[in-house]
């Protein structure tokens, strides 16, 4: 990464106080580590999810939920949903989400907002999105410094995987202007993975993870290969049509219609102030529906001075929001396909982002994936981490890992010369025998593992011991589909042929589901070795080491035995 351009604020390691920041378009979070475990910090209002909003009233600056409340009274001087605008040209931004707040405008190509940030009577200010970000970040820093009792100097900040170089640079400059050193920008899904992997009970396992980050204005999904604790992104997808605000809209329409059943001529969506109230309360109801099976909706003077009170149950919500939920499913299925993988290849799904609290979304994912895939969300796993906290936690962990390094060291370590490496395409493994004596491939190094890599396995020797063959091969997977036997039809036609209108009388729709499983197939042989005189009931150790140039070293011996065999294969 080259984000450490000239002029980056530098702090010497001994003077650092570092935190992790998740800076979203909708909400932000700050976190630190205490005894190596991450802690998300509450701001002065007691909030850990701090709305990414800056608002001015009579020259007074507000952020977080206090600023959010101003959307009803003072939307023109309230800036929302600005983070993605950083480093973008005005013509390439989507201002949709700023509709009910300060409008972005073009000031010589840079995105700006004109707001009254001083007392009435003074001329309004035109502030670039970078300046807005600086002011907002300054407030986050203040909250973190207050909590820690010392001035925060540095941070690791999470960014979406499609954040451009110019967005990264603008973010770093905005942070620097707030007197914050950016130790590193890290990808959001990787921060979430790190938050899970850093748990004391976590086991270091090779696995394929899908991180579904369902936020307020965007949903981002990544397929990540986790190999020996190294993370490689295999595919990403981004969606702006299905996110938290679209669920808010579903509820807003629902409550507006309910209101209009009693007040036929008053549409609360028809005026800005009513709309703002409707939106705020709809979001609150949505969050309540993640915990309870019922939520109340109650707004004083919703429209035309009329108070409104109603309730909604979760089932109703899930029915009216189905289209949005299905959008999440498609996004996840699409990115797995893009990575050239199948749902059967996915070991774990991490749900992150505020919208991931929604039980129906996690339950839908549960249904898409096989039982062997763990779905990390509050609704599907008792040990899931709060999805709203994952990115800030991951950033704080990374900050604590690197805060003692000189900035030059960090820069050099994150350089493409270090990060861009060969990844093996096929698995490398050993031939062992199934129960009925058939040769099967047992992977030792998983596909998509970065090299250099080293893995060791212990394998049972034949029952009676003796001389043993260690045959190392490549391996690949394929999905085996077992269709249930087609039921013969009365007219003798085969199932699946041209649909006949009079077919509908048959119960053939009730087909059994096909069975899909992942099967390893044996690829090219790389080497054979003999391990001699293995004891009865003994085990054989096989270590495969793949060098950076793909040369392979294989060592094998009887576990507990002396000597052993060692051989090398040249780089291809």
């Amino acid at each position: 990464m080259t984000e450490k351009g000239a002029g980056q604020l530098g702090v010497s390691p001994s003077d650092r106080c570092a935190i992790g920041i998740s800076f979203g378009n909708s909400y932000s979070s700050i976190a630190c580590t205490i005894d190596d475990s991450p802690v998300v910090i509450a701001n002065e209002d007691g909030d850990r999810q701090i709305p990414t909003i800056l608002s001015y009233v009579d020259g007074e600056e507000y952020t977080g939920n206090q600023a959010k409340a101003m959307l009803i009274r003072n939307p023109k001087n309230t800036v929302i949903s600005f983070k993605d605008f950083l480093g973008q040209e005005f013509k390439s931004i989507d201002p949709t989400h700023c509709h009910a707040a300060a409008h972005p405008q073009d000031a010589n190509g840079t995105v700006s907002f004109t707001i009254q940030d001083k007392v009435e009577g003074e001329p309004p200010s035109t502030l670039s999105v970078k300046e807005i970000s600086t002011r907002y970040l300054r407030r986050l820093l203040q909250s973190a410094s207050d909590y820690l009792g010392k001035k925060v100097t540095s941070a690791v900040i999470t960014v979406p995987t499609n954040f451009t170089e110019s967005q990264r640079e603008a973010l770093i400059r905005a942070a620097n202007d707030a007197e914050l050193e950016v130790l590193q920008l890290i990808n959001e899904p990787i921060a979430s993975v790190l938050a899970y992997d850093a748990r004391p009970e976590a086991k270091l396992e090779d696995k394929i993870i899908v991180v579904a980050d369902l936020g307020g204005t965007r949903s981002d999904v990544a397929v990540v290969a986790s190999r020996g604790g190294l993370y490689t992104i295999l595919a990403t997808a981004h969606d702006y049509e299905f996110a938290g605000v679209h669920l808010d809209t579903v509820l807003m329409d629902h409550f507006a219609k309910e209101f209009m059943k009693k007040n036929p001529n008053v549409d609360p969506r028809g005026n800005a102030r009513s709309l703002a109230k409707l939106k705020a309360e709809s979001e609150a109801a949505k969050k309540a529906l993640s915990i309870g099976t019922n939520a109340s909706f109650s707004v004083e003077s919703l429209a035309d001075g009329i108070d409104f009170q109603t309730t909604i149950n979760r089932l109703r919500y899930e029915t009216i929001a189905r289209k949005v939920f299905e959008g999440f499913n498609r996004l996840v299925e699409g990115v797995i396909k893009k990575a050239g993988l199948d749902v059967l290849d996915i070991d774990e799904v991490i749900l992150s982002g505020g919208t991931s609290h929604t039980p129906r979304i996690a339950n839908n994912f549960r249904a898409i994936f096989p039982e062997t895939t763990s779905i990390q969300a509050p609704a599907t796993s008792a040990t899931a981490i709060n999805p709203s906290e994952l990115q800030a936690r991951g950033a704080a962990l990374q900050a604590s890992l690197i805060q003692e390094y000189e900035s030059d060291d960090i820069e050099q370590s994150t350089h493409p010369a270090v990060t861009t490496v060969k990844h093996i395409t096929n698995a490398i493994g050993v031939i062992s025998l199934s129960g009925d004596g058939e040769e099967i491939f047992t992977p030792i190094i998983a596909p998509e593992t970065a090299v250099p890599a080293r893995r060791t396995v212990h394998i049972a020797a034949p029952e009676n011991g003796g001389d043993v063959l260690v045959k190392i091969t490549e391996g690949g997977t394929h999905i085996k589909v077992t269709k249930p036997e087609p039921k013969p039809k009365e007219n003798g036609e085969k199932e699946g042929e041209d649909e006949d209108e009079d077919d509908s009388d048959f119960d053939s729709e009730e087909e059994e589901e096909e069975h899909r499983e992942k099967i390893w197939k044996i690829g090219t042989t790389l080497a054979e070795a003999a391990v001699r005189d293995v004891k009865k009931g003994g085990k054989v150790e096989v270590t495969i080491n793949v060098a950076g140039d793909l040369a392979v070293t294989i060592t094998t011996r009887a576990v507990g035995g002396k000597g052993g065999v060692r051989g090398t294969l040249p780089a291809p």
Binding site: L401, T419, G466
Partner: protein, 63 residues
């Protein structure tokens, strides 16, 4: 990684007449690879970066 996975399915018996110099028969090389970017994040990446920058192998790193 210091840990090793345990495989229960047994290895085959060495076929009658199998022989090789020093009991090791090299047959092929790895067939394919892709250049990809590993994420510069987490403790294991730091170990990777240390090895890469000091041109050290896993076993040198173990010592």
């Amino acid at each position: 990684m210091a840990t090793s996975t345990i495989v229960a399915r047994p290895l085959p018996v060495l076929p009658e007449g199998w022989s090789a110099e020093k009991d090791f028969k090299p047959i092929g090389s790895i067939t394919a690879s892709t250049q990809r970017t590993i994420e510069p994040v987490g403790p294991h990446f730091l170990a990777h970066a240390r090895r890469a920058r000091h041109k050290r192998t896993f076993s040198e790193d173990d010592r």
